[in-house]
């Protein structure tokens, strides 16, 4: 279980990017975080992964305070993070990256299964370099596979659907459903996609650095996508419909 207690993150100019964020993700639960661009969702993901340190607040994983740990420390505690924009590595192949992620040499069957889960054929991709010759969608799938390779208890995916074609999108939903069925692992997905929001156990809407809505999909989705949702100003500036 991961608990975020009063997480704040301030920019160098003192502006709050996140303010008093409190969230709890139970074992086996899928939390989907949504909200307007610039609201602080990706910052929150980076704080949990250890890429940023919060200005204040606590991150508790299975009862242990891991707030002060850096990226490596948090990764070793069992947190994995799929980036919104995957990173290229000249010379490093898909196979090598997934081996590094897994912390060991994967068997051909494991590699085939991992790549198959994200809709890629091992024969075509295992020995491809992670460079600009791969499309954004291909890099995104490999990014997701690298998180899956780690089999960690807490996984973060920042907009995993970005760059993935419609044909593969349903497959992506299936992956997250399958991950949900593993009761020991929890997931946090940042997404704007209704199909992903619909499979969530809980949805948190983050806007202007705070959690403005939280609950089960049945409660949150109508407000987001229902007739009344219209074009209400997401940051509550009273712009109206």
């Amino acid at each position: 279980m991961l608990t975020l207690k009063d997480i704040c993150f301030q920019a160098p100019d003192g502006k709050f990017i996140l303010k008093d964020v409190n969230l709890q993700i139970e074992d086996g639960q899928l939390l989907v975080v949504t909200g307007p661009n610039g609201g602080g969702k990706s910052t929150l993901a980076k704080i949990i992964a250890g890429i940023y340190q919060p200005s204040s607040g606590q991150i508790i994983l299975d009862g242990q305070d891991i707030t002060a740990l850096d990226v490596t420390g948090k990764a070793k505690k069992g947190i994995s993070s799929g980036f919104q924009r995957p990173v290229c590595f000249k010379g490093i192949t898909v196979r090598v990256l997934l081996n590094i992620a897994a912390g060991r040499e994967l068997t051909a069957n494991e590699l085939k299964s991992l790549l198959g889960m994200v809709g890629l054929c091992m024969c075509d991709y295992a020995d491809r370099e992670l460079n600009a010759s791969l499309s954004g969608g291909e890099l995104k799938r490999i990014e997701i596979a690298s998180v899956l390779a780690r089999r960690t208890p807490f996984n973060i995916f920042d907009e995993p659907e970005a760059g993935i074609d419609l044909w593969s999108f349903q497959k992506l939903i299936d992956i997250f459903r399958e991950m949900k069925s593993d009761s020991s692992a929890s997931q946090m997905i940042i997404s704007h996609q209704k199909s992903i929001l619909e499979i969530a156990d809980r949805i948190a809407v983050i806007s202007a650095g705070t959690v403005v809505e939280y609950g089960v999909p049945d409660k949150v989705l109508p407000a987001l996508f229902g007739e009344d949702s219209g074009c209400v100003c997401p940051v509550g500036k009273g712009c109206g419909k």
Partner: protein
């Protein structure tokens, strides 16, 4: 051969007690072993220190080993080797060089390799350079020249990963019609090492093609200079790429030059020099690696 030579041979030519195929082993300036085969004849040059390697036309799937080792501190070895590759031959040539030195005097190997590659022949040329021992005066200088006839091709894998304190590498090729010249160079310098690598490719033939990819890492206070010149004299394609990673206080100068002398010559150069991107380190840290481990993995992959 002495134990240092044996160790160096293991690194530069995967030597495990014996060579399978024709070979010539040069140790401290003299021939320490030689064997020709039915298709590959190796003999001394008459006018200078060195050998000629003659591969008969049509020879297929043979590997020829031409390693050179210098293990006597203070020795400056110099050699010229001439390779004559017959028509339709397809051979692999492994020509590594290792220098071991513990003293303060400069210990050096300077090698000139000239290739005359006949029509339709293919050569895979593998060249590894390494230095071992405590001395900081190990030097390897190479001049490698290829002359490719019609439809001939060369794939060159060149590597200098560690231990060579000073190096000057000059590689040139002249291509006839439909000839293909592919180079993959990997370099790593550290400490106060200094390295120069220069390529010159003359694309004379119609539809000839050259592709040079040089990847390097400059660590410590080491310095590297890369230059390439591709001349397109006909309808041809030429591409060169210089990618360098800087670590600590390393420095790299890259000077590419393209010279198109025919309107159908298509020449491209790409160069990228910089330190390892922070996001690359961060990504690997999310897998549980430390920053240092991540850097090593990135460099290892980059130079592979």
């Amino acid at each position: 051969m002495n134990s240092f030579t044996e160790q160096l041979l293991g690194i530069v030519s995967s030597f495990k007690g014996t060579f399978h195929g024709a070979y010539n082993l040069r140790e401290n300036g003299t021939c320490a072993g030689r064997k020709s085969s039915a298709n590959v004849v190796i003999s001394d040059l008459e006018d200078k220190s060195g050998i000629s390697i003659r591969v008969k036309p049509g020879t297929k799937n043979e590997t020829v080993y031409i390693p050179a080792c210098v293990t006597e501190s203070g020795l400056r070895d110099s050699v010229t080797n001439l390779f004559y590759i017959g028509e339709n031959a397809d051979v692999t040539i492994i020509a590594g060089c290792g220098v071991h030195a513990d003293g303060h005097e400069t210990t050096a190997h300077s090698g000139t390799h000239r290739f005359f590659i006949e029509k339709n022949a293919h050569v895979e040329y593998i060249e590894k350079h390494v230095g071992t021992g405590d001395a900081d005066s190990k030097e390897i200088n190479t001049k490698t020249e290829f002359s490719l006839a019609e439809n001939a091709s060369v794939t060159m894998e060149s590597e200098q990963i560690r231990g060579v304190n000073r190096a000057n590498r000059v590689t040139s090729a002249t291509l006839a019609d439909h000839a293909v010249y592919l180079v993959h160079e990997r370099l790593l310098t550290d400490g106060s090492d200094s390295l120069d690598t220069a390529f010159e490719v003359i694309l004379n033939g119609e539809d000839s093609k050259a592709d040079i990819v040089s990847r390097s890492v400059a660590r410590g206070h080491s310095s590297q200079r890369y230059s390439s010149r591709i001349v397109g004299n006909s309808r041809c394609t030429g591409h060169s790429e210089c990618d360098a990673i800087l670590a600590e206080n390393g420095s790299v100068d890259a000077t590419p030059c393209l010279s198109a002398k025919n309107t159908d010559a298509a020449l491209i150069h790409e160069a990228a020099i910089g330190k390892i991107a922070g996001e690359q380190i961060t990504k690997l840290c999310t897998f549980g690696l430390t920053g240092k481990e991540a850097e090593e993995k990135i460099i290892e992959g980059f130079l592979k």
